[in-house]
């Protein structure tokens, strides 16, 4: 009886199990093996020991890409969370038109990243873009945005804030779920709006903040599309054309995120062994973050949520 039950479960799970082995287990093990070899698309892997890892420590582009990704983790993740909380608190308190506002703030999250990035590059064009034109009317000399090494990443943050909707909806559900009795009690104690937020709302949504922080870090570790397209479109040259654009990272490597450099090293410079060493390092970091999330969050444990 028990054996039969397990066999039934196995038939339900068979495709997924096979998928995990073929598209996760096998390539992960290969990546570790390849990281100790040197090869390109035409040659066979040749064992080089730790050379790729040594090379990582000396690669200036790699160091820059690590700095860029760290910048995104330190700036983008908190800015996104604070904005999403602000927006959801505002939405929760609106009584008229709440549905319309919710839809307006949510929709950009669904826009294809490539389309959204093109829209923002046009919007922020230094010479003729509407944002700088408007700033000029106000007497402000607008920055070069995506064309400036200093402003390219802040421009990506703006683009990311536009697509804040998905995490905002999760915060909104949490904010709406705070029991009204807690607010009543706080009000009786004479708490003002800020104190109600600080001592009632914020502690109640803490698990969601943790969730948003961890998934935000994971998202930032794989941040690729927007950085790739922004660099290519802002520089005005091809993104694909037979593979990889020479304009990835434009301007001056300021948009080379870690995965973007990994991809470029592997498929533009054909350093496939080296790219795998970078992949293994990325895996270690992403895995550590995931384990942290699993240990802190009940929803992800194997128990029924």
């Amino acid at each position: 009886m028990r054996l039969r039950r397990e066999l039934t479960a196995l038939t339900f799970l068979a495709p997924a199990l096979l998928g995990i082995v073929v598209f996760f287990g096998y390539p992960l093990v290969s990546a570790v093996y390849f990281s100790f070899t040197k090869f390109d698309l035409l040659s066979t892997p040749e064992w080089v020991g730790l050379d790729n890892y040594k090379r990582m420590a000396e690669d200036p582009f790699l160091l820059q890409s690590v700095r860029n990704t760290l910048w995104m983790v330190v700036v983008f993740v908190p800015v996104r969370i604070v904005s999403a909380i602000g927006l959801s608190v505002l939405l929760a308190r609106l009584r008229s038109g709440a549905g319309v506002f919710r839809t307006v703030f949510y929709l950009p999250a669904l826009v294809p990243p490539v389309a959204a990035t093109i829209a923002f590059v046009y919007l922020l064009k230094p010479g003729t873009g509407p944002v700088n034109t408007a700033l000029e009317h106000l007497g402000i000399d607008g920055p070069l945005w995506f064309n400036s090494p200093a402003w390219a990443k802040p421009s990506l943050v703006l683009l990311g804030l536009w697509g804040i909707g998905d995490i905002m909806v999760i915060f909104l559900a949490a904010v709406l779920g705070v029991p009204a009795s807690l607010y009543e009690a706080a009000e009786l104690d004479g708490a003002g709006a800020w104190h109600r937020f600080r001592y009632v709302t914020l502690p109640s949504i803490r698990p969601v903040i943790l969730f948003a922080a961890v998934t935000g870090v994971i998202y930032t570790l794989q941040y690729f599309d927007q950085a790739a397209v922004a660099g290519a479109v802002a520089s005005g040259s091809a993104t694909t054309g037979g593979g990889i654009s020479s304009s990835f990272g434009y301007p001056e490597g300021s948009t080379f995120t870690y995965p973007l450099w990994l991809y470029t090293a592997g498929f533009r410079y054909s350093a496939l062994g080296y790219a795998n060493a970078m992949a293994v390092a990325l895996f270690v970091v992403a895995f550590a973050v995931t384990v942290f999330l699993l240990r802190r969050s009940k929803a992800f444990s194997g128990e029924a949520a």
Binding site: V111, W162, D166, A228, G236, F267, L294
Partner: protein
């Protein structure tokens, strides 16, 4: 809920407080309206740009001098857009269908069947879901290249036949909310697990399935990394995202056409969203934590 909290208060509070409440109401709505304008502006600007002549699109004008809706026809004629659109539809539709086929049974087993290693398997699926795709990129690319399938859509579509980690996670979370009693009743009536899944669980899980299907469809429609990796060597297999990203260089000065194509890439997503809004928002909240 806030209404419950505040309404009785209004009736008993003095005028000053009521005025304060009204001012707060105006302030909140003004902020919301201002933010809404900022959220709509990028798309509005894009649409206006797409209706200009190619010369005017290069200027700093916001408003078209003359309106050129025919840009939306022209972009189909002078670019490969029809091809990209077809490829994107093929990818998104088949990936969604295959994902549902392979992931619903897996999610059902994880949520409702008891077997050894269930918790471990669930943890593995979370790890797969969290893994940056770039980690396994090179070995997977080499694997598909060995079978001569790079330059086609197959490397994007075939894996969905073998389950998708995020979809399995999402569907499992939803299936957990179906009370055990319904399943027990079906089993007492002599239904096997497959029949229980088909006759009892599927109809009850429709909102969850809709959400997972929509997520997969949108993911495939928006995907850039996958098509860049596998299809960039063969333009006939490019999807909208890939085509859009390269338009800019080929049709460098025709910003009106580039923006028209960009608007066309956004439009179906927004239309689908309006038809399926409820399932979608429910799905998003389901991915969040509950405690």
């Amino acid at each position: 809920m806030t209404a419950v909290l505040e309404r009785p208060a209004v009736a008993t509070t003095p005028k000053a407080v009521r005025r304060h409440n009204r001012l707060a109401w105006i302030a909140r709505h003004s902020i919301a309206i201002a933010l809404s304008i900022m959220f709509i502006a990028p798309v509005a600007y894009l649409i206006l740009l797409s209706l200009m002549t190619s010369n005017q699109a290069l200027t700093s004008d916001y408003w078209p001098n003359t309106w050129h809706p025919e840009n939306y026809v022209r972009v189909f004629q002078v670019t490969q857009l029809p091809r990209y659109l077809l490829n994107t539809v093929i990818y998104a539709v088949s990936a969604t269908a295959f994902m549902l086929l392979s992931s619903i049974p897996a999610a059902y087993a994880l949520a409702k069947l008891r077997f050894r290693g269930r918790n471990v398997l669930f943890l593995v699926i979370i790890c797969v879901m969290m893994l940056p795709p770039q980690v396994v990129t090179v070995p997977l690319y080499l694997m598909w290249a060995r079978y001569g399938l790079t330059g086609t859509l197959w490397p994007l579509i075939l894996p969905t036949l073998l389950g998708d980690a995020f979809s399995i996670f999402l569907l499992r979370q939803f299936l957990l909310t179906i009370p055990e009693e319904y399943l027990d009743a079906a089993r007492v009536d002599g239904c096997g697990e497959w029949r229980t899944l088909l006759k009892v669980v599927l109809p009850m899980a429709r909102p969850g399935i809709a959400a997972a299907g929509l997520f997969q469809f949108f993911y495939a429609w928006n995907d850039y990394y996958g098509p860049l990796l596998y299809t960039s060597e063969n333009e006939n297999a490019w999807t909208l995202s890939l085509g859009l990203a390269s338009f800019h260089s080929v049709h460098h000065v025709d910003w009106n056409l580039v923006t028209a194509a960009t608007v066309l890439a956004m439009a179906p997503i927004i239309v689908v969203f309006f038809f399926a809004q409820r399932a979608f928002v429910q799905g998003v909240t389901l991915t969040g934590v509950k405690g």
